[in-house]
């Protein structure tokens, strides 16, 4: 659906790598071009009309994001460069000052590098302990396993809402409830969730949320850090500079602006933020429920066609998202990706930045298909035809 909105989809290309990044609709590209062409001024310098328009558009995106994730206050929405920067700010700006040696952070083995490495660094720096919530036989997180993993030292649970390899939807609301009963913070990596499912931060009751615009039809280089206002007030800015300070005279007299400006130092990715506003308007028009329903239908269609193919080893048969991970028996995942590339089909091969997942799944590398609403049943038919013919794969993979 909505294929006509995407310039690239007018070409002969099948794009199945939406977990890495999504395609961009023309309205978003036009909105950014409009900024660069017609009012390319800086933000927060509203002494002249052009700049005033920038402020208006920039802050309108903040309002759109607030409503999109159902946050309580505008100040809770901070623009960053993406999920990775948001997670690093949460770990280094908040938890580095809050946690002490011996405190425990719970992750899972299927987390993306950006929700692992900042915690690893903090562990090395101040001696926190990293533990993992065990995955069940489907590689899912169950509330029972969360209960079992919590110890008296657990202070944070940090996990993805939907993982980028298995595609499982985690029971975040239940996890938050359980965590908060024991004064444990919950950090939600929403990179693979916010583009596909309605996320209501108040209902989920997460303390922090990170996500990126580019995986939801928006521009690269823009992301969001959401935090409950009372927590964000204690998040120390990692980056200092213009736009975030009130005044300064000497090292003892530095006064910072209020939220969210305090956490947005320097000139931000203005075109990206404005483009992101248009992205949210676009997704709102389609409706996230329709997007999710469409992805599930496409996934079921794809899975039903993959199951009978004997040489396909499916890693995540069950999953309520558009992510399908598999291997072609005896063929290295990258060779499968090169083979499909010869037919203009874009898929991802590798470990998908979830490098500790192999300890749970027992497979180092996989082929991943990640669907979005603009994919079609015909595209899946094309893929299935190419994957069904083992001899053809072997013949054409080099």
């Amino acid at each position: 659906m909505n294929r006509e909105d995407f310039p690239l989809l007018q070409e002969e290309i099948i794009y199945f790598d939406n977990g890495a990044t999504s395609l961009k609709p023309k309205c978003v590209i036009d909105k950014m071009n409009d900024y660069y062409t017609n009012y390319p001024a800086n933000a927060h310098r509203g002494d002249y009309d052009l700049s005033y328009k920038v402020d208006k558009e920039y802050e309108e995106t903040r309002q759109l994001v607030k409503d999109f994730i159902h946050a309580e206050y505008l100040e809770e929405i901070v623009f960053t460069s993406g999920t990775t920067e948001s997670l690093n700010m949460i770990v280094d700006g908040f938890f580095a000052n809050y946690l002490e040696a011996g405190d425990e952070v719970l992750l899972t083995t299927s987390e993306h590098a950006s929700n692992v490495l900042p915690w690893f660094r903090l562990a090395k720096k101040i001696g926190i302990k990293i533990s993992y919530i065990p995955l069940d036989s489907n590689y899912y997180v169950t509330i029972d396993n969360v209960k079992k993993a919590i110890t008296p030292n657990t202070k944070v649970i940090s996990l993805a809402g939907i993982t980028n390899v298995i595609g499982d939807i985690r029971p975040i609301k239940e996890i938050s409830k359980l965590a908060h009963e024991q004064n444990i913070f919950v950090v939600l990596d929403g990179a693979q969730m916010v583009p596909h499912l309605k996320v209501d931060v108040k209902d989920l009751d997460v303390d922090f949320l990170a996500f990126s615009a580019h995986k939801m039809c928006g521009p690269t280089g823009v992301g969001v850090l959401y935090g409950k206002k009372e927590l964000l007030e204690h998040l120390e800015p990692i980056t200092l500079g213009g736009g975030m300070n009130e005044s300064f005279d000497n090292p003892d007299e530095v006064y910072l602006k209020s939220l969210p400006s305090r956490l947005e130092a320097g000139t931000r990715n203005i075109a990206g933020v404005i483009g992101f506003g248009e992205t949210i308007r676009y997704l709102n028009k389609i409706g996230l429920e329709n997007i999710h329903k469409r992805e599930l239908n496409l996934r079921k269609y794809l899975i039903d066609k993959l199951i009978p193919i004997k040489h396909i080893d499916l890693i995540n048969l069950e999953s309520d998202s558009g992510i399908v991970t598999f291997n072609v028996s005896g063929i290295f995942s990258q060779d499968v990706a090169y083979y499909l590339n010869k037919y203009n089909i874009c898929v991802r091969a590798g470990n998908h930045c979830a490098k500790i997942l192999k300890s749970s799944v027992g497979v180092n590398n996989t082929v991943r298909i990640s669907l979005y609403f603009y994919n079609t049943y015909e595209e899946i038919d094309n893929l299935i035809e190419l994957l069904s013919d083992y001899d053809k794969i072997v013949k054409e993979m080099i």
Binding site: Q334, Y338, K395
Partner: protein
């Protein structure tokens, strides 16, 4: 060589590579991996003074990387350090689309056209990068 012959040599070396997963006590280990993809190979090299007496390998990689490793191993065993560096130089010349010595490279010329495939060039070069480090260390 026609395309069918090229393909056969690559596939034969991919499916039945030389010296994969052999015991390698007394060998020096060199890991080689590509930043842009997932190829990851451990090379094990044994020297007899200045001569490469043996190379074995283990790891996971695509058909081009594995076959290139196998062909490289066959062609480098028995060479001295400088001869091996010459071979590696000619291989890079080939994968960069420059003039090169076909006789010296023997069956490695199957990667002649890889210079036109940017995303597979790194796969063919992968084992050479690892063994080059091993040789330079040996010459130190």
């Amino acid at each position: 060589m026609n395309n069918e012959e090229i393909r056969n040599i690559i596939m034969e070396n991919y499916l039945h590579p030389k010296n994969r997963d052999l015991p390698h006590e007394d060998y020096q280990k060199y890991n080689t991996r590509n930043e842009s993809c997932i190829d990851n190979i451990d090379l094990y090299i044994k020297w007899n003074k200045n001569i490469i007496e043996d190379i074995t390998f283990s790891g996971e990689a695509c058909a081009v990387s594995i076959s290139s490793t196998s062909i490289m191993i066959k062609n480098l065993i028995g060479k001295n350090a400088n001869e091996a560096l010459d071979y590696i130089h000619e291989f890079y010349q080939m994968t960069n689309g420059e003039e090169y010595n076909k006789e010296l490279l023997k069956d490695a010329v199957v990667y002649d056209s890889i210079s036109k495939q940017g995303n597979r060039k790194v796969c063919a070069n992968l084992p050479l990068k690892g063994i080059e480090r091993a040789i330079l260390d040996h010459l130190k």
